[in-house]
């Protein structure tokens, strides 16, 4: 009897038997056609999700790479800008330490010239600026271990600090400090004249950015 029943079912075709088996396995009593659709739909959505994730992943990588390239380019431009500014500062430093407006000899600044420029104030900046350009400053210090006292016609010679073209604090700049001699005509007085002395000093040359 059982065999007959099975045969009768088998006779309805291969497709029918498969559907029956699926519904039996899944303990589903609904129509076999709807179950197949559900499985098919699930499989399709899984594949779609897979492609979506893959696409998303590739897009993220590409975006990360583009961001990296942009950052690299910007940082290189910053480095180049910084390099140009430092080169400009170095060239200006070399020029100023041998400038006849400030120096007596190469890397030997004359305190008389410095004091005269200090007294000129902003006029000195515009005068020297016509040669060396604008937006720079020079600070010269005598390294005598005493507190900074600005040199001008009133404080001279008890002073040790000259500041040319310095802008108020807050302006951004790049600067270099270089050792220099500062010649002061304040040495021993001889019958033939004053024996000047070379002191140890430093010059800080900065370029405003």
């Amino acid at each position: 009897m059982m065999q007959l029943k099975w045969s009768a079912r088998q006779g309805s075709g291969r497709k029918g038997s498969v559907e029956m088996m699926e519904s039996h396995i899944l303990n589903d009593v609904r129509a076999p056609t709807s179950m197949r659709d559900i499985i098919s739909r699930k499989k399709g959505s899984v594949e779609m999700m897979e492609y979506m994730f893959l696409t998303l992943f590739v897009i993220v990588i590409v975006i990360a790479f583009v961001i990296f390239l942009t950052w690299w380019n910007v940082s290189q431009m910053d480095v180049e800008k910084s390099k140009v500014e430092l080169d400009k500062t170095l060239v200006l430093t070399k020029s100023l330490i041998s400038s006849p407006f400030l120096a007596r000899d190469d890397s030997m600044l004359d305190d008389g010239k410095l004091t005269a420029l200090q007294d000129m104030g902003q006029d000195a900046c515009s005068s020297i600026g016509s040669i060396y350009g604008a937006d720079w400053f020079a600070v010269i210090r005598l390294l005598d271990g005493r507190n900074d006292t600005i040199c001008n016609s009133t404080s001279y010679p008890d002073c040790n600090y000259w500041s040319l073209c310095k802008k108020p604090a807050g302006n951004i700049y790049k600067s270099y400090v270089v050792p220099v001699n500062i010649y002061r005509n304040l040495g021993v007085i001889l019958t033939t004249g004053v024996l000047g002395r070379n002191y140890v000093g430093s010059i800080e040359v900065g370029v405003y950015t």
């Binding site: 498969v18 396995i25 590739v58 990588i61 480095v79 430092l86 270089v178 140890v200």
Partner: protein, 205 residues
């Protein structure tokens, strides 16, 4: 219950999936699915490697700001400034640091001024004092100043070639980047004119 019989006989799990796959014309036992996943993973890995390689390549060519030019200028000016600075004595053998160094080389026991220090003491004291007035050197750099004869040899009391050494002798042996400056001094004496070479090396501490 009767319908379950063939399923139990064939196995409950493999038959329906296999049948479905067969209906779609797919091969269940073939590993095409896993092959596809592996290929995708390898491709992703290749893309990542390509991007990473490009990034590393670009980073190796990244420019950086070098301080070498400035440090060379600094070292040179430091030595020049030191040599030309006054010691405070008016004696021609002791007036400048370079005078004191030359005097210390040829006549180390020569007394500067009246009851002053010897040339060697004065040279050692002033050179070290002046160099250490520069805060950059004092804070971050070790220095070594040597004065050696050029073209002739002077033997010291121990029988070895004499030279003046001021500063940290380890600077000459250090592996860090060093910046050096040279200056020549000429000393006229009754026996002739002699050249001395002063060399200053600075190195990060």
């Amino acid at each position: 219950m009767n319908e379950a019989y063939p399923l139990q006989e064939r196995g409950r799990h493999d038959i329906p999936l296999a049948a479905m796959a067969r209906q779609k014309g797919q091969c269940v036992s073939c590993p095409h699915g896993s092959m596809k996943a592996q290929t995708t993973m390898v491709l992703i890995l290749l893309v990542i490697l390509l991007f990473a390689g490009t990034a590393i390549f670009l980073l190796t060519f990244a420019k950086s700001v070098s301080q070498a030019d400035y440090m060379n200028l600094y070292a040179h000016n430091l030595l020049l400034t030191l040599m030309r600075s006054d010691t405070g004595y008016t004696d021609p053998n002791c007036k400048l640091v370079s005078d004191a160094l030359a005097c210390a080389f040829f006549t180390p026991e020569y007394i500067c001024g009246q009851n002053g220090p010897s040339c060697l003491t004065l040279a050692n004291r002033t050179a070290a004092d002046y160099i250490e007035r520069f805060s950059m050197v004092k804070k971050s750099y070790a220095y070594l100043l040597t004065v050696e004869p050029q073209g002739f040899t002077v033997l010291g009391s121990n029988g070895e070639p004499f030279k003046i050494v001021i500063g940290d002798p380890n600077v000459a042996l250090g592996r860090q980047t060093k910046y050096a400056a040279n200056e020549q001094m000429r000393k006229s004496m009754s026996s002739g004119v002699f050249n001395l070479n002063a060399k200053l090396m600075i190195m990060t501490k």
